[in-house]
């Protein structure tokens, strides 16, 4: 099945440039992996997005021009309707030399990477029930690219604060991110996110709290930032920690960098940033037991 | 000869307009444009309205003040010319 066929009646008509009708005149400024300014929202969309993500306009420093994101109208008839019982949103991504196209249920998106980063989100949702998830699904991809541009990396991971330091436990779906997060909450530890965490400033790696999460850590955007304490590949079993070989660490980290890891045009950049992270931290494999008792492993030597 | 009960209509690919008293016929299939005079334009306009040949002759006779008998032969000849040129066809 070619790009967009699952979601659009005529994917060939996918717009190659940011044009169309805005929904309204509202603007929302958010800062996750850098400032982004969403333009063209209507009042309902603004409220829905603000309730979910907050509004970090005050945080945006004047020396950082925001990434402009146009929110445009698209007709419902353009999308294929299908029964979504038991279906989980998944995105079609089309990687091109200067841009990335996104097709999904009820929205399409365009992230222009060259000559400068800007984006467009087209949706048929006027700010109803599904708008926050549409907004988030699109924004996750944008954040991955914004992080990449600024030398950071988004990781599919559970982020846990231990002694003021962020421990990033990455792994594929089913590796135990949610289980570990639940154990952390039960043990009274603070959670950053149980799904996606953002590592920035790789000269002195830090973890920024971001609002992309599953059951734990769904908080609005905040300026909260923590030093990175460690990076761990997650596995369930008997409590244990062992050093990963550099090659396994490198490949498993890339495998856990959503969206950008499939982009053939940006591979070098992803690899460069991953290597930089590995030069500061040597990831271990952290095997943890559902019964708990794994917290000492974070501070022990492998 | 066709009788006055025969009904014609313009062919599916034909587009027709009366503009400033002139009839413009476009045959889309072959990209041909024809221009017909005021009487021809009136005939095609009536055909487009689904009028039968006998009614058409009656209306044209009134409009241009011509005897119906004299007009009948001319209209039939004109319609068969248009039919040969694939502008009109008989309604089945």
């Amino acid at each position: 099945m070619s790009f967009g066929e699952r979601f659009l009646h005529y994917p060939d008509l996918f717009p190659a440039r940011p044009a169309g009708e805005p929904w309204g005149e509202q603007t929302l400024s958010l800062n996750i992996a850098g400032p982004a300014c969403f333009k063209g929202l209507n009042a309902n969309q603004l409220e829905a997005a603000r309730n979910r993500f907050g509004d970090s306009d005050s945080e945006i420093a004047a020396d950082q021009p925001p990434v402009n994101v146009n929110v445009m109208q698209m007709e419902e008839e353009e999308y294929i309707l299908f029964d979504r019982t038991g279906w989980e949103q998944s995105l079609d991504l089309d990687f091109l030399p200067d841009k990335v196209r996104i097709a999904a249920y009820n929205f399409i998106g365009l992230i222009q990477l060259q000559p400068k980063l800007e984006a467009t989100l087209w949706t048929c949702d006027a700010g109803d029930e599904e708008f926050p998830s549409i907004f988030e699904n699109f924004y996750r991809v944008l954040v991955a690219y914004q992080a990449l541009e600024r030398g950071g990396i988004l990781l599919h991971s559970a982020g846990i604060l231990l002694d003021g330091k962020a421990q990033i436990c990455y792994g594929h779906s089913g590796a135990g991110k949610s289980t570990l997060t639940r154990l952390a909450v039960q043990s009274g530890h603070e959670i950053l996110s149980d799904d996606l965490n953002l590592i920035v400033d790789l000269d002195e790696p830090q973890v920024r709290r971001i609002p992309f999460a599953g059951d734990f850590g769904r908080v609005p955007v905040g300026a909260e930032i923590h030093p990175l304490g460690g990076v761990f590949r997650l596995k369930q079993g008997e409590n244990n920690r062992e050093q990963l070989s550099p090659a396994v660490a490198f490949s498993s980290l890339i495998a856990s960098s959503p969206f950008v890891n499939r982009d053939p045009y940006r591979y070098e950049r992803v690899a460069e940033i991953t290597e930089k992270l590995l030069s500061k931290f040597s990831p271990s494999q952290l095997t943890f037991s559902k019964q708990g008792g794994c917290w000492d492993l974070f501070s022990s030597n492998p | 000869m066709d009788t006055n009960t025969t009904q014609y209509k313009t062919c599916a690919d034909v587009r027709f307009r009366v503009i400033a008293g002139e009839g413009v016929i476009i045959r889309q299939e072959i990209g041909e444009a024809l221009v017909v005079n005021e009487v021809g334009a009136s005939i095609l306009k009536l055909l487009n309205e689904g009028v039968s040949t006998s009614k058409l002759i009656e209306r044209i006779a009134q409009e241009f003040d011509v005897e119906e008998e004299r007009l009948t032969l001319d209209v039939h000849r004109y319609l068969s010319e248009l039919e040969s040129a694939n502008v009109v066809e008989k309604v089945a």
């Binding site: 440039r17 044009a19 | 307009r17 221009v35």
Partner: protein, 351 residues
Amino acid sequence: MQLSDLTRKFCNENILFSVLLELTYRCNLDCTFCYNDRSLKGTPFRFEHYKKLMEDLLQMGTLNISLSGGEPLAHPDFFRIGALAREMGFVTRVKTNGHALRSRLLERLKKEVDPYNLDLSLHGASAAVHDRQTQVPGSFERLMQNCAEMKAIGMRFRFNMPMTRWNENEISEVFDIVDLFETSINIDPVITSRDNGDKAPLSLSSSEAGMMKLSDLMGKRRKAQALKYGVSENTGNDIVIPQKKHCGSGSSTVTVDPYGNVYPCVQLRRAAGNLHKQSIRQIWEGSEVLDEVRELTVRVKEWTAEQGESCQKIGFCPGTALHETGSATKLYPQAEMRVTILDKKSVREEV
């Protein structure tokens, strides 16, 4: 009376014969020189608005409707608008880049809209050049495949090509493509600024050598066609020059943008009114802008005659002149270049 005589009559008597509808500025390609003002805002024209407009146009005797864009197929109501135009008996042309016109979409277009013709945008004779201009990899190959499919189902099409510095060395190969599909092409040697005044596209304007080559090649093709079909070699020009006016801008044609603004033509972007506020008949009969443009085209006709034969032959566009120089009776750089070429050619022929 011939249709060409009739169109002169429509132009002289201000009869609205052809209307170009820019349905949307959305597009699935991203041509470097696109003139559309994508920042333009307003209340978008939807099916109900187009229905009312077409009903009025039918009353006014309009025959031709061109559905344009952006990419017109990207308008959510495209098929309803096209089908209604067909039902109302308009001769409908669709100006499209052809990128999406394959299989199901193509079949729908043929079945539901049955356009008189498709004007397909071609930007070169190779993927390297065409795709560079559309900024969509694979668009050349796709267009060629789609053309083959169109031909197989009997969809009539011809090509439109804006000539640029990038494709001017492929003109001969472009003609090979035209011949392969047994169709025709309209090559526009003039690249204009964007409608919002941005002059960036002008840097792609074709060179004098490119224009000279085009002129020579077209001359040769006309001669070859004259020999083949036994017709006069001077009949290859598509442009009908009316008697009293230089062109039909605001006299036999108007352009409507996606927000209902009415302009005298696609090049002359002075709004004569908005269809959300007035009917097309009210604008056509009462707009001062249209009256001014009608007078202007008479003056331009006289002015080109004063400039000499070459100026009358180049397809001088008052709208482009106004846009590029601020005056409708002033040669813009590309027109000047074409006059020079024609003058040189006529000297060469005399020698």
